[in-house]
Symmetry: C2
């Protein structure tokens, strides 16, 4: 089946018939641009899925979460006990660090990684317990600087099978927006999104929002799990599989500023004259300050109208009215964050051999006629 | 006197003979690139000066700082009382939002603003009282969201004379790195740098580190002072004096990621073959993760060697060994921050009519021979 073929009507895990599937096993898929644009909160059946192994089968009646490591009071929680702690809801955008990898691949091949278009991003209302409430019970000791999160799911890399995991610094873990979530959009968390319990780390790469949580381990240093210590690192452009030193890349965490045009879509023919361009912008830990749109390749710009900020931790949809002359044209967008930081111009300038964190200007080529 | 003429031996305020003067009154000046590069901490006589009015004459014996507005306990502090509070030292880089404006001016004129090269940046060890200690005494009430800082210095704009001021959000004001400083590099704060007491807001534009502090005012909204509400905003490229709506620009605060080549210098002739390129990188609230250097205009890169991080709030010097073929050449640098954010490629892409926040790739044109 072609990744771009959305015609089959049944996907695993109750996903919508028109979702874009990038891989069948493990299942990796995300919403088409028009679905991304359709609503601030992504419906569960459209929410993107980035799995590294099979969805584990966990019995919620016997489920326990273990909290251990550099804490004064290691303990185990049942789901029942978890639900007695304060429940909060945070609307947060999750995005895969590999979103928009396809544009990098068009610069230079990136073998062995999923060729995500712009569909590895979605927004949900997550409900659960702030991680810091659980940490407060465990009492991190003075040597605790990182919070390792380990899932029940297993991945296989280089002939080894191991649990998916990663870590976030204790500072971030103590912030009120970081949740252990058991609901998504007001419904019980579905199995494919991490039931019965997952982490949600707003503003950070999706890989840190560990699903199917089994264990929380307070540590002095970042996790030694493969997906923290080797994968999800940003390497310089001159680095490839042949010369990589895995410890030397930038360990990814916080997101950079990015924006995307969702409509019109790549390759479309639209009427010449007034058109509305729509998309989203997202700035991770920072705020989105402005989105610029150009119809002349970035020589001149107009300012898009941003939707009000509905959540500190979510994307903002935007739209801009443009006037298209008949013929081929290219529309470009770029966002600015609250630190007056904008996106780099070209994908060539951000290419890296694992294909992460592409936040170059986004281009859509059209014909107006 | 030409701004590039450093030959006169006496500057006001004890500044070094070779400092680059951009304006005589008010006095605005900064260190030459080789001085910037010479040490992690900038000597006081080289530290850049960005003043908007005359240096006020304040008697430290009668000086009081007032804390008022949305607080439960408004009060006044003498310097003696201030010195009894906990004293901390933070090594922090300050940079003017207009640093590197000259490169923007080369794209399109920016009348009425100082044509800073790359000298509006320096690093000092600041000692004083954490602002939050003072705020804790005053007890901000529930409506306090911003901390307005007002100086004794006066500026004249559009026919009005008023005190220089600005504000920072209460969240930032409560962070331990934000100081009310009365020492600089272990010596009493000199008059030109804000004696007897100034704010130091690490990671933020220099304009928020208010000098000659007279008053702290807790408020619901950002300061209405001209330098917060109208100046120091980032406007879109299509905005100019003829169509500006002052309230609509991005109110500047946190710094974006930037880097600069300090040596070799622009226009120099150097020996062909192995050369060492040196400079600094700075990421504001974030960390510097990597610096790339190119000798082919950005087609290929090598990774610079970064000095160890000496302070969470300061620049990092770097160096890279390059091999130059005989003839004209252009060296380029760019930095990456801890959120995998890099600098935009060209000054044209970040041009704005007030000339702020230029963090485009930095270029130096040389002849190797």
């Amino acid at each position: 089946m072609s990744p771009r073929d959305g015609s089959r009507s049944h996907h695993p895990f109750g996903k919508a018939a028109d979702i874009l599937v990038r891989q069948d096993a493990p299942f990796n898929a995300g919403p088409r641009p028009e679905r991304v644009q359709a609503s601030f909160v992504t419906p569960v059946d459209q929410f993107f899925v980035r799995n590294h192994g099979d969805v584990p089968d966990i019995d919620p009646r016997t489920f326990h979460l273990t909290i251990e490591g550099r804490v004064k009071r290691p303990f185990r929680f049942s789901l029942e006990e978890m639900r007695r702690l304060p429940k909060v809801t945070v609307a947060a955008t999750l995005q895969c660090a590999g979103n928009r990898r396809q544009e990098l691949i068009e610069e230079r091949p990136i073998p062995g990684e999923l060729p995500w278009g712009m569909e590895a991003i979605s927004t949900a209302e997550w409900s659960g317990v702030p991680l810091r409430e659980v940490l407060a019970v465990a009492e991190p000791d003075a040597a605790a600087h990182h919070v390792e999160l380990i899932g029940f799911d297993e991945a296989e890399r280089h002939g080894h099978r191991f649990a998916f995991g990663g870590s976030i610094p204790l500072d971030k873990a103590m912030r009120p927006e970081v949740l252990l979530a058991y609901e998504m959009n007001g419904q019980p968390l579905p199995p494919v999104h991490g039931a019965p319990l997952r982490a949600v780390v707003p503003g950070w790469i999706g890989a840190r929002s560990i699903k199917w949580l089994s264990r929380i381990n307070l540590t002095e240093a970042p996790s030694e799990n493969y997906f923290q210590s080797k994968a999800y690192r940003l390497f310089p452009p001159q680095t490839g599989p042949e010369n990589v030193v895995w410890d030397e890349g930038l360990m990814l965490g916080e997101f950079n500023v990015s924006s995307v045009i969702c409509s019109p879509g790549e390759g479309e023919t639209v009427a010449a004259g007034a058109q509305t361009v729509r998309g989203w912008a997202f700035a991770g830990e920072r705020r989105v300050a402005r989105v610029d749109v150009s119809i002349d390749g970035g020589s001149t710009w107009l300012t898009a109208e941003l939707e009000p900020e509905r959540s500190r931790w979510a994307w903002r949809h935007w739209e801009a009215r443009v006037d298209l002359a008949p013929g081929p044209c290219e529309i470009v967008c770029r966002a600015w964050d609250s630190a007056a930081q904008t996106q780099p111009e070209g994908a060539a300038a951000v290419w890296n051999f694992k294909g992460y964190m592409n936040n170059a200007w986004h281009h859509v080529r059209l014909t107006a006629g």
